[in-house]
């Protein structure tokens, strides 16, 4: 079993073997959060544990494929997430997050496994009715540059009580260098509850996407 497969299995186990017991990239202090993002060209599974209210460590596995389906990447590694700054207002919240990791990556157009570094910054602003975010993350290894950028904007259809499921419309545009020739744009329906959300959408290439987040 090679290193990538070993880390991948560990990550999947961490995500699913925890007994079933936030929309930033980490949950509250002491919580474990799992996230998934699935489509034909991008499949990601990510779990982290919040050591403090500002720091989380975790693991992720990611499969990437070029738009033409010819080039593929598989990576698995560990991550660190840091809440750099937060602004709380009476009706809104804004955050700056650092998300970074070290991964092993392999591909179908080169031999062996390479070490990949993935530092990134996420900015978000949210009210009970509106959400916007932007993420920029480098995916760099020797001879590889798959820098990633995404922006998201959404609104909720109505205010919901704390114990109710709230439906949102979210529009996402994202692009990955040297894999996508054009931005992928996906309108999605998001259903958010107090310990999970799910998103379902179809992108402009008519590919289905499914995302989830669950906080234990």
């Amino acid at each position: 079993m090679n290193f990538v497969r070993c880390v991948r299995l560990t990550c999947v186990a961490a995500a699913f073997c925890i007994p079933l017991a936030n929309a930033g990239p980490m949950g509250f202090s002491g919580s474990t959060m799992s996230m998934g993002d699935f489509g034909p060209n991008w499949r990601e599974l990510f779990a982290n544990h919040a050591l403090t209210s500002r720091d989380a460590v975790g693991a992720e596995v990611l499969f990437m494929r070029s738009d033409d389906g010819r080039r593929e990447r598989e990576m698995a590694g560990v991550t660190y997430t840091r809440l750099v700054s937060r602004w709380n207002a009476p009706d809104s919240q804004a955050n700056v997050w650092f998300v970074g990791g070290v991964s092993a990556v392999r591909g179908n157009d080169f031999n062996g496994t390479r070490l990949m570094f993935t530092p990134g910054i996420q900015l978000d602003y949210e009210t009970t009715r509106v959400y916007v975010s932007a993420l920029g993350r480098l995916y760099r290894a020797r001879g590889i540059n798959h820098d990633y950028g995404s922006v998201r904007a959404g609104f909720s259809f109505w205010e919901a009580e704390y114990d109710e499921i709230q439906p949102w419309f979210v529009l996402e545009a994202r692009r990955m260098r040297n894999l996508s020739d054009k931005p992928e744009i996906t309108p999605m329906l998001r259903l958010i509850s107090k310990n999970y959300f799910v998103e379902l959408g179809v992108n402009t290439a008519r590919q289905a996407r499914f995302n989830f987040m669950y906080v234990f």
Binding site: N22, F28, S29, T128, E161, I192, S193, N195
Partner: protein
Amino acid sequence: MNNLSIFRLGRIVAISLVLSTSAAQATTLVATVNGMVCALCAQGIEKKLRALNSTQDVYVNLGQKVVAAQIKDGQKMDETAFRALIKDAGYDVAALQSVEKTAAQIKTEMKTKK
């Protein structure tokens, strides 16, 4: 003791229980929380409050940015610790007051206002 005496004794016990229950005032700490805009985020506050030994019940209202923690009879909840818990969860307490109501009563009042 004849049947009549047993009946009277039972009635006295029942009345005493009713009176003692209504006399006991539930105390609830009610905070107005800045930044609490989604249920996923507020869940951390609720879980941490429920984990406290002194917590009887918790009510969260996202629309009015309210977190209410009802204190168990005979127990105390330090206001400074309550503020710190919310702060540690990543939010700011804009106002805090102690009221003589249950969390359920506060929930009913807020739903009525809405």
